[in-house]
C-alpha cells in the first residue's frame, strides 16, 4: 500500500513537473525575444527611429487584436450567411431560422428577460448599498463580504447556489436552504431548477449575487467623490434622506451609474458559465450565448451559431456607441 502510493507520487511528478518547465520556458523565451528586439531597434537613430519604435511597440498588440478579435468578428459575419459547413452562401436563412424557429423563441425570450432584468437589478441594488454604506460607520467589513463573490468563478457560484436550490424528494429531509425555508413557512418545496419559468429567475439571482459587489464598489467611490459642501448646503436647506438622494446624490453620480449599467449589460449578454453549469441550457433556461456554444461545438452548425453571435453583437452595439461617444467627450475636455 505504502509502496503503491509512492509509485503514484513518482508518476505524479513526472507528469506534472514538465508543465512548469513549459511555463517558465515560455516566459523566458517571451522576454528574451522582447529584449533582443528592444536592443536591436534601440540602435536605430535619426529618421528611422520613430517609425521603428511605433512598429515595435504597437505591432504585437495590433497583430494579436487583428487575428484574435477583429478578423474573427468579420469572419463570423461572413459565416452567418453560409450553411452549416461554411461552404455555400445561404443569404439570411440562418437569421430567418433564428427568429422563426419554435425552440429559438424560448432562447430569445430568455435572453431578453436577462437583458431587461439583471443589469438594472444589479445596478440598482449596488446603488442602494453604496448609499447605505456611505451613511454607516465601519463599512469595510460588509464591503469586502459583499464584494467577495466577484472573486468566485461563475462555476463556483453555480455550485454554491445549486446547493441553495437543492431539492430532495418529499419525505426525505430537505437540505437545500430554499426548500427548507419554504417548508418552514408552510409551503411546498418544488424541484426549483427543473421548473420553468421560475428557474430562469433563480439563475438570474446567481448573476445578481456575483455582480452587485462590482456595482457597489464603483458607485460607492463615486458617492464619496461628491463634494461635501454640496451635501452640507442641501442639508442646511432642509433636504435629507430620500430628498437629498434624489436632488443631490443621484444627479452627481448619474454618469457612473450609466457606465456601471452598461458594463452589466455587456456582462449579462456575454454570460455563459452560469447557464452552462447549472442547467446546461435545459429545462427552458438557455440564452443566446449558451445556445451559440451548443450550435457550434455540439451540433456543428457553424452558420446558425455565427448568426447568433452577430445578433448578440448587435444587441450590445448601442452601448459601444454610447461608450465611445462618452470617451471622446471626456478626452476633449481633458
Amino acid at each position: 500500500m505504502h509502496q503503491e502510493s509512492e509509485g503514484m507520487s513518482m508518476n505524479f511528478w513526472s507528469e506534472n513537473l514538465p508543465k512548469f518547465g513549459q511555463m517558465f520556458g515560455a516566459i523566458a523565451i517571451f522576454f528574451a525575444v522582447l529584449l533582443a528586439i528592444f536592443f536591436i531597434a534601440g540602435k536605430a537613430n535619426g529618421r528611422t527611429a520613430r517609425p521603428i519604435a511605433i512598429v515595435v511597440f504597437l505591432g504585437p498588440a495590433l497583430l494579436l487584436l487583428i487575428f484574435g478579435l477583429f478578423g474573427p468578428a468579420v469572419k463570423t459575419l461572413l459565416y452567418s450567411f453560409k450553411d452549416s459547413y461554411g461552404q455555400k452562401w445561404v443569404g439570411f436563412h440562418n437569421y430567418h431560422w433564428l427568429f422563426t424557429n419554435q425552440q429559438m423563441r424560448q432562447v430569445l425570450v430568455n435572453t431578453i428577460l436577462w437583458f431587461a432584468i439583471t443589469p438594472i437589478a444589479t445596478t440598482a441594488l449596488g446603488l442602494f448599498l453604496a448609499v447605505m454604506l456611505d451613511r454607516m460607520k465601519r463599512e469595510s467589513i460588509p464591503k469586502s463580504l459583499l464584494f467577495m463573490p466577484m472573486a468566485i468563478s461563475f462555476v463556483g457560484a453555480s455550485i454554491i447556489w445549486q446547493f441553495v436550490y437543492n431539492f430532495a424528494n418529499p419525505g426525505d429531509p430537505q437540505t437545500g436552504l430554499l426548500s427548507a425555508i419554504v417548508l418552514k413557512l408552510g409551503g411546498h418545496p418544488a424541484n426549483w431548477i427543473l421548473n420553468g419559468p421560475l428557474n430562469n429567475f433563480l439563475l438570474m439571482i446567481i448573476f445578481v449575487w456575483v455582480e452587485t459587489g462590482f456595482a457597489m464598489v464603483i458607485l460607492s467611490a463615486a458617492i464619496k467623490a461628491v463634494p461635501a459642501d454640496i451635501v452640507e448646503a442641501s442639508a442646511l436647506d432642509g433636504a435629507s434622506g430620500w430628498k437629498q438622494f434624489r436632488g443631490v446624490t443621484f444627479p452627481m453620480v448619474r454618469g457612473t451609474f450609466i457606465v456601471v449599467f452598461a458594463t452589466m449589460v455587456v456582462t449579462c449578454l456575454k454570460l455563459f458559465d452560469i447557464v452552462r453549469t447549472v442547467t446546461g441550457g435545459n429545462f427552458g433556461t438557455s440564452v443566446l450565448s449558451n445556445e451559440m456554444y451548443s450550435e457550434i461545438f455540439v451540433r456543428f452548425e457553424q452558420g446558425k451559431g455565427s448568426a447568433m453571435a452577430i445578433v448578440l453583437f448587435l444587441m450590445v452595439t448601442p452601448i459601444l456607441v454610447y461608450n465611445v461617444y462618452n470617451l471622446r467627450r471626456e478626452r476633449a475636455i481633458r
Binding site: 508543465k19 512548469f20 511555463m23 515560455a26 516566459i27 517571451f30 522576454f31 522582447l34 528592444f38 534601440g42 519604435a53 515595435v56 511597440f57 504597437l58 498588440a61 484574435g68 478579435l69 477583429f70 474573427p72 468578428a73 441594488l125 454604506l133 451613511r135 469586502s144 463580504l145 459583499l146 464584494f147 467577495m148 463573490p149 472573486a151 461563475f154 462555476v155 463556483g156 455550485i159 445549486q162 446547493f163 441553495v164 426525505d172 429531509p173 437540505t175 437545500g176 436552504l177 427548507a180 464598489v217 467611490a221 467623490a225 461635501a228 452640507e232 442639508a235 435629507s240 437629498q244 455587456v266 456575454k270 455563459f272 458559465d273 450565448s289 456554444y293 457550434i296 450590445v316 465611445v324
Partner: protein, 315 residues
Amino acid sequence: MKPSKRQSRKAAKIADHNPGRKLFGSRVATISVWIVTFIWTVPTFGILVTSFRTKTDIVNSGWWSAFTHPHFTLSNYHAVIFGTADSGLQNGVLPFFINSFVITIPAVIFPIAIATMAAYCLAWVKFRGSDALFFFIFALQIVPIQMSLIPLLQLFTGGVHIGTIRIIPPLGIAGKFAGIWLPHTMFALPLAIYLLHNFISALPKDLMEAAYVDGASHFTVFRRIVLPLSIPAIAAFAIFQFLWVWNDLLVALSFSGGTQGIFPINAKLSAMVGAWGAHWEYLTAGAFITIAVPLVVFFSLQRYFVRGLLAGSVK
C-alpha cells in the same frame, strides 16, 4: 494624486459630522447593509460548512444543523485532493490545480507586457491616426469571445489562407498550454490597453520631455521611466487578469481540444458537476479548493484590485 486623496478623506470626515447625512438614520443604513451582507454571505458559508460534513450527515440534515450537532471531517478534502475510485478522480484534483497555475501565470504576464508597450506608444509616440486607433482598440472590448472561437481554432489547426495561398502555417498549438495562453492574451488586450493608457498618458510630461531632450530613445524611456512608474496600474490589472483567467471556463473548454489533461481546475470542476450530481461532499470540497486561490488573492490585494477597477470608470 496623494493630496487630493487626503482632501477627500478630510471631506468624508466633515460629512460625518454633517447632520444632514446622519439624519437619514445611520442606524437604518447599518441594519439594512448588514442584512444584505448576511444574505450575501450565507450561501458561501453553507458550502464551506458542508464540505466538512460526512456524506450521511449531508443527506440527512441541512448544513445549519451542524451547529447544534457538530460533527466534522476532513475526508472530503482528502478524497478530492488525493483521489479515490469513488470520487471518479484517480489522481485527485492536484494536476488540474497545477494546470490552473501553468495557464494563469503566463496569461497574466504576456498581455500586460504587450499592452504596456502599446499603451505607451499610443500615449507618448503620437502619430497620425493614433487616437482613432485607440478608439478602435477600445471598441474591440465589446466583441463577444464566442465570436472568436472558431476562427482562432482554425488558425491553430489550419493556418490562414487567402484563396489557395497559405499566408500563415498551422500553429499546431490546439490542445496545448500555448493554445490557451494565446487566446487569453488576445482577449485581455483591449481592456488592458485602455486601463494602462489612462494611467500612462497621465504621467508627468516634463519628466518624459527631459528624457527625450537628453537623447534617450523611446526604448530607454519605456524601460527606465514608464515601466517603473506604471507599477501600480500594472499590479491592479494583473490582479484583475489573474482572477479572470483563473475563473474562466469558456476559453479553457474551447481551446483544450477536449483533452482534460490540460484542463484548469475550474473547467474540471464544471465537468465533474454532472458526474458528482449526488456527491455534495465532493462538489462542495472541490468548489472550495477551486475558489480558495482567487479568494486569497482577492482579500490580500483587494485595495489594488479596486483601484484598478476604478481607473477606468471614475475620475
